[in-house]
Symmetry: C2
Subunit: 475 residues, 2 copies
């Protein structure tokens, strides 16, 4: 594709994307294809000869678009609703063209330093002190894995060279999180050689928050059994109900016990930008590390996970290596390759910087506040309806509830099945996409509000569909 | 930014990028800023109020562009030269707008299935059999880490639950690679709890290839010492000299010894698309896993690393978890979140698919062959010049050599210093960017040819600059 063609196709693509972002509602939110439909519709081998961009885009529209689940649809109310905002999409376009690979400062001073600047802005907006240094990873899973590695290295600095296997005198290690934690912690435990059994999931209270009394007992029990506690990982905004673990009390315990405190604020952390919700990060200033995901609730195209750490020296001590073919500048220069597993780092900071400037702090707060208010409104509708039962508090922008008719007596199994069918039926309309989750043992309808263009119209549409589905699901 | 603004700024950005891709040579390849220049030029806090896209772009041009090292400049001849090709850039733009998060099949059937299709195309192009299943990760570092985890789990399936620490009867484990291997293997060893000491770096022959006799002795020694060998990781295209380890002989040994064979073909693997170079992947069909990076030498904007595995069941057995809030479809459906640490997966397959179609297999082979021929041409110039010494064979598209005047006797230390100064001086011109590396103990000038728009003009320019630098460097 020569430069003239790039320009022409680029302009065509801008128009396609503008149309897409303007009218996402012309597509069903949840893809309607069957497994294998896409792969069967495509050739088994790459073409031998070049094909035109027009032909490729025609296949994109014909074969791939029906296979998209539209995360950018304002009726997307499942999992965590995310947004590729317009400035974020433009920034990714620019970043792709610049193709920066910021492994060393010299290979992209702009990407290296803008990462520091943009993360500094974000840190300040959510109220963390400057003692936290930031680094951008792709996902919270990778950020969490690095937190686990840092905790492991802090407790056992010889692990870097000697590892964990076949060593005398190295005890079993233990990490604590709540029963409501995200499975990225489980995955990290598997990856770094600690194993799932070394993760102890602490029970939660009736609002799905980690019970610090149970945590204290678990740590004491483990110490008594010769197991070495190394870290506690509370969550600010758990994945099912967005419950907020009592970080200040956990921080007290971590200080007393000398444990690494990592706060998983991947979803909930940005809410601290609102004066009304600054408390969600209470105690986080005492954490060793914290993750917050701009690609969740900060309108940033996937992927961009921000990892803040008060002890980045521990991460650097683990990962700094100087091979024969790279010559880092001496002195105080930061090289991003030293802060983690990945040598290569793409220019993700560009989109965060453009988004923060384009919205301004005020613009972001307005949207976050609007989403939280919409969730409260929905919670109010649920609470006021005799045939629905709310299953969890709504501290942020997610509402978990279920259909439970006031006038009929159904077993728990019948209720679970009926709510599952209800959600399937609602999703089949294509107008909205909501997910289910298990809350306190019940199948819950889970509505997550977080897309930039989601308004009361979409939330009300979901609620109307859910209410009107009742007759079918109760048969 | 409303839809009309997106359209307007999108068109402006297409023109900016088209101009950038058309005339990269108006910028110095290597950024000329000093550490801190960028961060000092930007405010310490995010703006409170929204700013216009025009204002943001003005700052981008004023502050950030001088801090870019231009990986997309045809004079970029350092590290591995990579390209954000035009179809790849457009695909990333589209992918950002679609904002697919392909953790589950249902959350993006198109991204999930296109990943399988595009990787199938690539697998076939490089001559791997269909027994290899593919998955896309961000970087080769992460792919390699997963290969290490798979090797660990295959040798010790209880590691997933019980980990490595504090267990009786678990021996020390050992992984083997060559002294020329990429440090992503070291980082992976640290991350997954095996530790650097568990990585044994096998000596190389005089063409920088892993010595299989030494490997055999090392494995036997370790077994005799009660250490459990688990994996060998040869390289196809090492990072310094692009040497190619003898994979067939390593595969023989791995079969005899029951070791996981992972081939690091991150850079060199794509060369197997050329009939003349199919041999570089000889024996790789017998590997357990292999990594090849389209973002290195397949004109794909960073990041996209392809991991092929004959035993993806081992990876899945390690990482499959089913939490309360996700409901994978039953049956044969693939969910990308099960193949690794990262839960979230972005739509990287789109760019690989668009690039393979846009170039066609023939177009890609033409460029790879052209780059290899340019490297041979440069090697010929070096060999013919009395004052330069080639330091390694040139199996692919990288040439390592040094200035060593025929008529003067200089110490090794003087030669090292002179070659280092020479490279600095050449890079200061801004016309080209070449790197140094240590080859057989000497400081080498290392020229990597891999950018799509690099032609004989750029290689000759680099060679002329290097030749003309002689007087200054020998003073």
């Amino acid at each position: 594709m020569d430069p003239a063609d790039f320009r022409r196709h680029g302009h065509e693509l801008v128009d396609w994307i503008a149309e897409y972002l303007e009218h996402p509602e012309k597509y069903p939110v949840l893809a309607r294809v069957k497994p294998g439909d896409i792969s069967r519709a495509l050739p088994g081998e790459a073409p031998e000869d070049p094909e035109s961009f027009g032909a490729i885009m025609a296949d994109f529209e014909r074969v791939l678009v029906p296979g998209l689940t539209h995360w950018n649809h304002p009726g997307f109310l499942a999992y965590f609703a995310i947004t590729a905002s317009a400035p974020g999409v433009l920034a990714e376009f620019l970043s792709a063209a610049l193709n920066q690979q910021a492994m060393l400062w010299r290979t992209s001073p702009a990407a290296t330093e803008l990462e520091e600047v943009a993360l500094g802005w974000l840190r300040s907006l959510i109220g963390l002190p400057p003692a936290f240094e930031g680094v951008i990873y792709d996902t919270a899973s990778i950020a969490t894995m690095h937190a686990l590695i840092a905790a492991r290295e802090a407790a056992l600095p010889s692990a870097r060279s000697m590892g964990l296997a076949g060593r005398d005198g190295v005890p079993r290690l233990r990490v604590y999180t709540s029963q409501q934690a995200n499975l990225s912690i489980d995955k990290g435990m598997i990856a770094i050689g600690l194993g799932l059994d070394s993760l102890r999931k602490i029970p939660v209270d009736d609002e799905f928050r980690m019970r610090v009394d149970a945590l204290e007992r678990a740590v004491a029990e483990d110490r008594a059994a010769g197991i070495l506690p190394i870290a506690v990982m509370p969550t600010v905004g758990t994945t099912v109900t967005t419950s907020i673990d009592p970080v200040p009390a956990v921080a007290d315990l971590c200080e007393r016990e000398g444990l690494w405190l990592h706060v998983d604020a991947a979803y909930g952390g940005v809410a601290a930008m609102l004066p009304s919700h600054a408390h969600v990060l209470a105690g986080a200033d005492r954490a060793d590390s914290l993750v917050v995901n701009p690609h969740k609730w900060l309108f940033t195209p996937f992927d961009l996970s921000a990892f803040f750490c008060r002890r980045m020296d521990v991460v650097r001590a683990a990962f700094t290596l100087t091979p024969d073919y790279l010559h880092p500048e001496p002195g105080e220069i930061k090289n991003l390759m030293d802060t983690g597993v990945q040598l290569g780092r793409r220019f993700r900071a560009l989109k965060l910087w453009m988004i923060l400037r384009s919205f301004g702090a005020r613009g972001i707060r307005d949207h976050l506040g609007r989403h939280i208010a919409l969730a409260q409104q929905l919670a109010g509708w649920v609470d006021a309806h005799p045939d629905f039962e709310r299953l969890a508090p709504v501290p942020l922008s997610v509402v978990c509830f279920r259909w439970k008719p006031a006038t009929r007596s159904l077993t728990e199994a019948e209720l679970d099945a009926a709510n599952g069918r209800l959600v399937d039926e609602v999703n089949r309309t294509g107008d909205v996409f909501v997910s289910t989750a298990r809350v306190a043992g019940h199948v819950a309808i889970r509505i997550a509000i977080g897309h930039l263009r989601t308004t009361e119209v979409h939330v009300r549409r979901a609620w109307d569909l859910i209410r009107n589905c009742q007759p079918q699901t109760s048969s």
